[in-house]
C-alpha cells in the first residue's frame, strides 16, 4: 500500500461530489422507507386477515346454530308432533286428479281419527330435537286465515262430497 501526497487543487478536484452523496444517501433512505411502508401494509393486512378469519369463524358458528335449529324443526318427529297438536289426522284414502286427462281417481273420504291405525304421537326417538315448533291449535286459531276466500262451488265435477262442495284451499 502507498500513500500519495497531492496538491491542494488536486485534492479539491478529487473530493467526492456532494450532490452524488446526497442522492446516494437519499436513495438509501428512500428504499428503507419504502420497505418500512410495505412491511407496515403487509402487517396491517395480516392483522386484518386475522380479524376476518375470526369473523368467518364466528359466522360459521352462527350458521351451525341456525342449521341445527332448522334440522330440528324439519325433523319428521317435530312435524308429526306439531301436526298432532293441531289436531291433524292423516287421511289414508287418496284422491288423485289428472289435469291432462281431466280425470279423477278415487273417491274422496274425510279422514276419520277413530279409524287411523297409527298412534297419534311420535314413536320414533330423536335425542337431538332441541328446537320444536311452538304453534298449537290455540296459537294457530289466533292467526286464522280471514274470510276473504269464498268456497268454490264445484261446477258439475265428478267429485261429490257429503256437503256437495269441494272445500277451497285457504292458500292465495
Amino acid at each position: 500500500m502507498a500513500v500519495f501526497m497531492v496538491s491542494q487543487s488536486e485534492a479539491k478536484r478529487l473530493r467526492p461530489n456532494l450532490m452524488a452523496g446526497v442522492i446516494f444517501i437519499a436513495g438509501i433512505i428512500g428504499v428503507y422507507i419504502a420497505i418500512l411502508v410495505l412491511n407496515m401494509v403487509l402487517t396491517q393486512d395480516a392483522y386484518h386477515l386475522r380479524e376476518l378469519k375470526i369473523q368467518q369463524r364466528n359466522l360459521a358458528t352462527q350458521v351451525q346454530i341456525i342449521q341445527e335449529e332448522v334440522d330440528s324443526l324439519g325433523s319428521p318427529q317435530n312435524l308429526a308432533d306439531a301436526a298432532n297438536r293441531l289436531g291433524m289426522v292423516a287421511n289414508p284414502a287418496s284422491v288423485l286428479l289428472d289435469i291432462e286427462k281431466d280425470k279423477v281417481f278415487g273417491s274422496p273420504k274425510p279422514a276419520d281419527p277413530s279409524k287411523v291405525t297409527l298412534a297419534s304421537g311420535n314413536l320414533v326417538p330423536n335425542s337431538v330435537m332441541g328446537t320444536t315448533s311452538e304453534f298449537s291449535a290455540a296459537t294457530v286459531a289466533s292467526t286464522e286465515v280471514d274470510e276473504g276466500v269464498a268456497p268454490l262451488v264445484s261446477g258439475g265435477s265428478e267429485v261429490v262430497l257429503a256437503s256437495g262442495l269441494i272445500p277451497a284451499s285457504p292458500t292465495r
Binding site: A46, P76, A80
Partner: protein, 592 residues
Amino acid sequence: MSSPAKLIRRLGVFVALLALIVVMLGLRLVDFQVVRAAEIQQESMKARSVLNTLTALRGQIVDSQDQVLARTVFRYDVNVAPKNVGPVFKTVDGVKIELSVEQITRELAAILGLPFEEIAPKLIGDSEYANIAKKVNADIYNQIRDLGIPWVYTDTFSDRLYPDGAVAGNVIGFVGADGTPLAGLELQYNPCLAGVDGQEAFERSPDGVRIPSSTITTQPTEDGGTLKLTIDSNLQFFAQQVMADTVNDTGAKWASAIVMEAKTGRVLAAAEAPSVDPNDPAGVEAADRGSRIFQTAFEPGSIMKSLTAAMVVDTGTADEFDTRPAPDYMKLDFAGGSIKDSFDHEEYKLTLAGVLRYSSNTGISNFGIDIPSETRYKYLEKFGFGTESEIHFEGESSGILHPYKTWDKMTNYATMFGQGISVTTIQMASAYQAIANGGVRLDPVLVDSCTKSDGTVVQVAPQSSTRVVKESTADLTLELMEKVVEFGGVGKTAQIPGYRVGGKTGTAQLQEGTGYGSQYAISFYGIAPIEDPEFIVGVSIYKPIGASNSAGTTAPFKAIMQQVLKTYRVPPSTTKSRNIPSNKFGLADAPN
C-alpha cells in the same frame, strides 16, 4: 516527527488487524450460514413455526330427496386453567367493574346448566387444565366466549349429528365418541364418508399473528364424500311409526318392514322397531342397534308358497286351472313323515290360487313335489336365497339354504312352505321383486351414490339382473297372489280400496331346541298395483304375544302400502282381477 516508513508500518498493523477481524467474522459467518445453518434454521423455525393438522370433515349421509340424515358439526369442550383463576376486570359502559371468581362461576354454571357446586371445586388448584364441561353445542360455546374470561378456554372437535334421530338409524349406523365408525352404513361406507386430513406449516409472530406468505400446505385436506341413500326419510319415518305401534300393540320382540320399488330394486324404507337413535346408541340394547332386515335370518313360513307356486307354473307342472288334493293332514311316503295344515278341514281340491288363499301346506306339497329338488334348489338360488344380498350390508346374514343333496325327506317338502330354510327380509323382498318385475330379479339397492368433495359422483356398484322365471309366470303368480287378498281369511284384511293388491301371509313356527315351539314369526308380503306392479311391502313381526296367525301383519302392511301409493301418486287401478278358480272345490268364486 514520524517518518513515512513509520506511518506505513502503523497502517500495515491496522490493516492486518482489520483483516483478522474480517476473517474471524467471515469464519463465524461460514459457521452460522454453512456449517450449522440447518440446525440454526430449525431452531429458529421451531420458535416461530406452527404445524397444523387440518381436520377433514366427514361427509354427509342424505336420503333420496337430499334430506340430511347425518352431518358433521363442531362441539366444544370447556376447560379452565385453575392456576390462573382470579377476578376479572371488565369495562362495561365506560365503568370498570370487577367480576369475582364466584360471580364468574355462577355465570358459567348458568350457561352450562350445571350446579355451582360442581364447577367451583374444579377451579381450585395449581394445574393448567381442568375440564368443566364436555361436548357443548355452538350456542353455549358462543355464550362462554362472550363472557371473555381469560382463564376459560375451549377445545373444538368435530362430532356427528343425526338430525332425524332414529329415522333410518338402524341402517345408517353410528360412530364412536372418537369419531370411529362402528356400525351400519357409517362403517360400510367409511371410505366414502371419511376424508383425508391435511397438514399446513406456517410461521407466526410472538403475539400469535400468522406471518404473511409463510404458509406451506404440505398435504391438502380432502373432505369426505356425500353418501346418497335410496331411502325416502318421510316414508321411512311413517313405516317406523307403524312398526313401533305394532310392537306396542302385539308385545312382539321386534318388527320390521321393507318397502322396495318393483322396477328398480331400490329400498325406499327399511323400518325396524325397536329402532336406534344414532345420536344415542346406548339408549337401546345392543341387539337392537343393528339392522335385522339385513342381519337376521329366520324361517319365513308360508310367504315362501308364492315362490313355490311360481316354480310350479314356470316348470309347466301345473297351470291356474289344475287342481291337487289338499287334506288337512297328510302322511308322507317315509316313516314318521307327515304334513299338517294350520287349521282342520275336510279334504279340499285346490288350484294354485286356492293353495295360496287357504295357505295349504299339503296342497303346495302336492303341487311342488312333482318338481325335482335340484330344480327347486336352483330356483331358490336364483331368487337370491342362501347368499348375502348384493347390498352387502355390514354384518349381513346370508340365511341358510342347504344344498339340495343334503336335504332329508322332510326338508324336501318343508322348503316348499318356508321351513328348513332361513332367509333375511332383504332376500325375501328381493325375491318378491322378481315376481313383481316380470320375473327379473334386480340387485337390491340401498345406497345410490357417493359424491366426492370435488364433485365427482361414484356409483356404488353396477346393478345386475337375473331372470328367475318367465314373464308369463310372474304375471300369473301375481294373479294367484291377488286371490289371497281378494278371498283369503286373513288376506282380505290387506285390501286397499281402489287398488288391486296381491300378497301372501306367513305364520312361521319358531324352533325351540330341536322342535317347533309355541311362538311365531308372522309376515305379510304384498305387491301393488297388480296390473302394473310398482311396490313391494314386506312386514314381519317376531314373537307377537298370543298370536298364532298372521292377522297382526295386514294392518301395518295396509297402512304402509297406502302411504306408499299416496306418496308416489300411483293412480288407483282401473282394471279388475281375472276370475281364476281359487275355492276349496277348485272352482272360481264370484268376484267381490
